[in-house]
Amino acid sequence: MTTTSTPPQTIETTASHDGLLERIKSMQSVWILGVLVVIVAVFGALSPTTFLTAGNITNIAQNVSIWAVLAVGMTFVIITSGIDLSVGSVLVVSSVVAAKSMDAMGGQGWSTALIGLVLAVIVGLGWGILNGFLVAKAKVPPLIVTLGTLSVALGIAQIITGGLDIRAAPDVLQDNIGYGRLAGIPAITIIALIVVVVGGIVLHRTRFGRYTYAIGSNEVSARRVGINVDRKLIQIYALSGLLAGFAGILSLAQYGTTTIAGQSLTNLNVIAAVVIGGTSIFGGQGSMFGSMVGLFIPAVLQSGFVIIGVSPYWQTVAVGTILIAAVYVDQQRRAAATRGKGVSTA
């Protein structure tokens, strides 16, 4: 480390075995994965016959599936140092438009379901583009933009329905997607898993993902190197909206009805999961894997508390505490990294 001349070989170009381990250890998501493992182990020890059963695990996976789809878009948005509060309302308005149209069409077949899917995705995409345009071009802070569209989208959903939920999901949708299973795994979970894996690959392996990090890390430098930051931001918010629309049709399939009043905390739960998973609200940092770990913590707590007979209301207490603790740990690490401790051997 003290030599002054540097032959090419001494510059590290790959994370060596040791370095990789260090890098993994320094990732927030790995610490949080540890927390999740501990929670699972505790519940597993307390109630081995009910908690660690295939049925219960499948149940937990099914419960997080819709949030997982939303969390994929949210991870992209938060990495740009943005936020999307509107996902729950966009989910609702998309499912309302889809349900209303499918109801009008009648029919319980795939063609009706397909129209519903396309409409839900288009409505979601539209709200996402609107969010992105207001953030990137009108320069309104994302918190305000999406707080506004949260309200507007929910209001429109209530206007369309008169505030009453629509029970109109075609049978094929409910039977195959909502209750359907493939090799014992809920279809909705498989769909969510595909979205998560594709989202993770796009975030971590493609140029689109690299630019997402760059914008959150230093927007000015991203602009200086010629990245069209405005267009990327619109695309990223559009992605979040599109996935919220897709989640809208999944929600219809799962519950058989629109959930107008049931999504008021969805946005905050998804944001909490993403942040617990190590994605920084200041941008530039985060991973898809972390967001998924962050999603499972509340779900596992919920299920565990019910099984061991603790009031499930404790779940929200625990999740809130973990959220604050996770961000505290993250801040400490960040401070250490700026002091240069992160460099030495890691």
């Binding site: 480390m1 002054t4 001349s5 540097t6 032959p7 090419p8 001494t10 510059i11 590290e12 170009t13 790959t14 994370a15 370095g19 796009v202 392996r205 493609t206 140029r207 689109f208 690299r210 990090y213 760059a214 959150g216 890390s217 230093n218 000015v220 430098s221 991203a222 602009r223 200086r224 190197v225 010629g226 990245i227 530039g284 940092q285 990294a337 700026t338 240069g340 992160g342 460099v343 890691a346």
Partner: protein, 254 residues
């Protein structure tokens, strides 16, 4: 020597402040030109105007003898002009290879590249070669830039600009925050880049550094070029005199 990159009569007002007042500028290939001036003399404004970061009110910019207009910094990059900004403009969460190739990623061949997949290992290899060629203090291309020392960050920013500049390299106060060894490295880098035939424009407050590497020194005061000296024929005293206005000579109104 005919100028590779030159500007005539550049003017720019900010409200009541005349930041550039019919400023002149020129640099030739294979030449290091230092741009000096007191605070507020218009150095940074001139560099911004020359590199697509700022619109000008009047005047013309010539590149390789023909008029050119940059709307964005990217336009300047496209013709081979790069700037090392004082704030370095690095993304702290990305590593040095990612920063070096930001906006110019190497893509995987074939269908994967079309789908947006990057060739990370090729970028890391090329970045490592670029850093070692410059004798950079960077030891790893896979550590986030935010975790690096000030000197290492500086060398990432310089290596990035050197790698992409093939005509003109601007360096805005590149040695301001550096120690003795790192400063020497930067000055050596400037000479290497010049020897490759590029035009180098160095903005610095450090007169000894300016006199060490520059071929010519252009002095700005109150938004205009008040003097140009051959570095070999001038002294710190003369430069300071020109900067402060104590002695006005040579192209006083140019």
């Amino acid at each position: 020597m005919s100028a590779l990159f030159e500007a005539h009569n550049l003017s720019r007002r900010f409200g009541r402040v005349q930041a550039l007042d019919h400023a002149e500028f020129d640099v030739g290939a294979g030449e290091v030109v230092a741009l000096i001036g007191d605070n507020g003399a218009g150095k940074s404004t001139l560099v911004k105007a020359l590199t697509g970061n700022l619109d000008i009110d009047e005047g013309e910019i010539l590149f390789e003898g023909s008029p050119i207009h940059f709307t964005t910094p990217h336009d300047a990059s496209e013709v081979g002009i790069e700037v090392v900004h004082q704030d370095l403009a690095l993304a702290p969460h990305l590593d040095s290879a990612e920063n070096m190739f930001l906006g110019r990623e190497l893509m995987r061949p074939g269908i994967l590249g079309k789908l947006g997949f990057m060739d990370n290992s090729a970028m890391r290899q090329k970045a490592a070669v670029a850093f070692s060629e410059l004798g950079s203090a960077v030891r790893s291309v896979v550590v986030p830039v935010g975790a690096m020392s000030g000197g290492q960050k500086q060398s990432v920013a310089i290596a990035r600009s050197v790698a992409w500049a093939n005509k003109v390299l601007f360096l805005d106060e590149p040695t301001a925050a550096l120690g003795v060894v790192q400063t020497k490295n930067v000055l050596e880098t400037i000479k290497k880049v010049r020897d490759r035939g590029l035009a180098v424009v160095l903005i610095s407050h450090s007169m000894p550094h300016v006199l060490e590497v520059a071929d010519r020194v252009q002095v700005l005061r109150l938004g205009r070029r008040v003097a140009t000296y051959r570095a070999a024929d001038t002294s710190v005293e003369e430069l300071v005199g020109a900067m402060t206005g104590a002695l006005d000579k040579k192209e006083g109104a140019a």
